[in-house]
Amino acid sequence: MPKDSAQSEERFSTGLDSVVSELFQKSRSEEFGLTRERFAGVLQEIARKYLPADAARIEVRELYESLRVEELALARACAGGHEHAWEVFLTRYREKLYDIAGYITKESSAARELADSIYAELYGTATRDGQRASKLASYTGRGSLEGWLRTVMAQEHINRYRRQRRLVSLDEETEEGVQFATAESEPAIAVDPRVEAATDEVLAALPPEDRFVLASYFLDERTLAEIARALGVHESTISRKLDKLAKSLRKQILAALGRRGMSRRQAQEALDVDVRDLRVNIRSQLSQETGPPAFTKKKAEAPADGS
């Protein structure tokens, strides 16, 4: 064993015996055939993953105590092929898997396909070094097992969608009339590098949550309700935050441009020129006005129709 690894293992276990024993009891690991040593090993593996090697004992303890140990033991026992664990897992989550898939795909056959494929991954149809590799072995108990399953399924759904987008046949493209569409070209915008630098500076100074809200609303076009749900706050909080951000961003960028030697007027012009160029892409609009709808947009709708 490498020296660093041995040291971190020691750090993640020394003086934590009582906590580990308590969590072992709480996790009902024995019921699922996991020994205390194996359980302690799983905890150390998780600590190595999420904590720096020089983490204080209190941090390790806090991490251990924050884990969903009962679900963790169940998942690891399933990954190890324990029959009773699988019975418990199926009783608890089988229906939920299909429900989650149904919500994500919005279509019954796609939902079944997604759920079946995830189930296969959870069971571990693939083998690694002669052993069955179950996706459940990657569950670390940071949130609920159900929450993890939701995330894994959402991830798989998005990956499938992207793969599907890459596999559009030439016939479909012809039907869509994509050959008549003018090639999309990046609008030629000469943005003053100082404007970019000032914008980056202002964005970097924002809390990550504010940037998340901006990106979700203005880039992903999510609704206020969706963003509010993701952050666990009320819709009106997001609305107020967006209003405040929209009002303050322009002022702050202008101030940052001023610090870069631009006069107020120059700064406003630099910002407005950029805005005009990006808002009105006349060439692109003229070329698409009489043509068929953009192919990419149609493709994006395809999975939702179930085609």
Binding site: Q25, K26, R28, Y50, S66, E70, I100, Y103, S138, Y139, T140, G141, R142, G143, S144, G147, W148, R150, T151, V152, M153, A154, Q155, H157, I158, V195, E196, T199, D200, V202, L203, P208, E209, R211, F212, L214, A215, S216, F218, L219, D220, R222, E226, R229, A230, G232, V233, L242, D243, L245, A246, K247, L249, R250, I253, L271, D274, V275, L278, R279
Partner: protein, 341 residues
């Protein structure tokens, strides 16, 4: 919604994306089970990565899931639950006080206008004291219909059980009647001799006829009669003692359940009361607080030692305890057996 300069959107879209958090962290973010440091790290990544934002938004926006998460707000401020709870209690007291005051005035007017003919009608319908209670309640505005129903049900239950006057005193409603000392409790002899079934029948008849009370009865006599027929109300004081009110919250009486126990959670389901507090103390009364039994939740030999901060019972059988360590203990057989979630 105000627009942002397009350069901002473009710079946001072009942000450099670092390593993606794994499904555990993304799932933990959605469930808000991460620590502050990790949450900020994940948010930082999400602000840069459209793919991960999409992943997070799919599970996060599932209505039932997200709604369940919204129960616990992220940053409880002055609108935190304990404050709201007390504010709600104060608001309830004000409303109840107003309603009772208005009712008393209303009653006073009605009674003053009652005629001697009414008195005769009452005398020719010798029914049990409960029948008078019912009649009195039936004088109330339509909002009081629920109370009337409750009284009727209580009377029917009494009739069905065949209990006599002294045995019936174990019920909170009956006990309250006995204490009032109002003229309505002075039951005519025929009514006392009547069988419980006959009493119930009389009660129903009285309710149907909507007979007003005798004239000249002071409203002070009527008010306690109305209020004491209300279902007892329960609350926990700020120092963790259990309190009961039999007069719609006007006065509260401390109920001693156990010494040296501070109660933090209460569930009342009709006559079925559960209170939980420090060091896993859990007490149950199935007769509106007349008798208490300590219940010790045990799962696989492990008993509940943490403070109980939440007790919920959807019916007499099915209940849920929340401990200070966020453990959830569930029973489906009125506390006989427990399961941990």
């Amino acid at each position: 919604m105000a627009e942002i300069p397009k350069i901002v959107a473009r710079r946001l879209a072009n942000a450099k994306v670092g390593d993606h958090p794994d499904s555990n962290l993304l799932g933990g973010f959605v469930e808000r089970s991460l620590g502050q440091r990790e949450r900020v790290q994940v948010l930082e990544h999400l602000s840069q990565c459209a793919g991960c934002r999409e992943i997070v938004s799919l599970p996060a926006t599932q209505p039932s899931f997200a709604d369940a998460l919204l129960v616990a707000p992220l940053n409880p401020g002055w609108l935190s639950w304990p404050i709201l709870r007390w504010a709600a209690a104060v608001a309830c007291l004000v409303i109840v006080g107003t309603v009772v005051t208005l009712d008393r005035k209303h009653e006073g007017r009605q009674i003053a206008s009652a005629t001697a003919e009414d008195k005769t009608v009452v005398e020719t319908h010798p029914s049990a004291s409960n029948a008078f209670d019912s009649k009195t309640v039936s004088l109330q505005a339509p909002e009081e219909a629920k109370t009337t129903d409750a009284v009727n049900r209580a009377a029917k239950a009494k009739a069905a059980s065949g209990a006599d006057g002294s045995a019936a005193a174990s019920s909170p409603v009956e006990m309250a009647d006995a204490r009032t000392g109002s003229p309505f409790v002075d039951v005519p002899a025929r009514a006392k001799d009547a069988t419980p079934q006959a009493q119930a029948s009389e009660i129903e008849k009285g309710m149907d006829r909507n007979i007003p009370p005798p004239a000249g009865v002071a409203d002070t006599a009527i008010t306690p009669l109305i209020s004491t027929n209300l279902t007892p109300r329960w609350t926990l004081s700020s120092d963790g003692t259990l309190q009961r009110s039999r007069d719609a919250g006007r006065t509260w009486q401390t109920i001693v359940v156990a010494n040296n126990t501070v109660f933090r959670a209460l569930a009342a389901n009709g006559l079925d009361i559960w209170v939980g507090g420090t060091a896993g103390a859990l007490f149950h009364s199935s007769n509106a607080g007349q008798r208490w039994t300590q219940v010790r939740p045990v799962v696989n030999g492990e008993s509940l030692h943490d403070d109980i901060i939440g007790v919920e019972f959807t019916d007499i059988q099915h209940g849920k305890l929340t401990s200070s360590t966020q453990e959830i203990w569930i029973t489906a057989d009125a506390g006989q057996t427990w399961q941990k979630q």
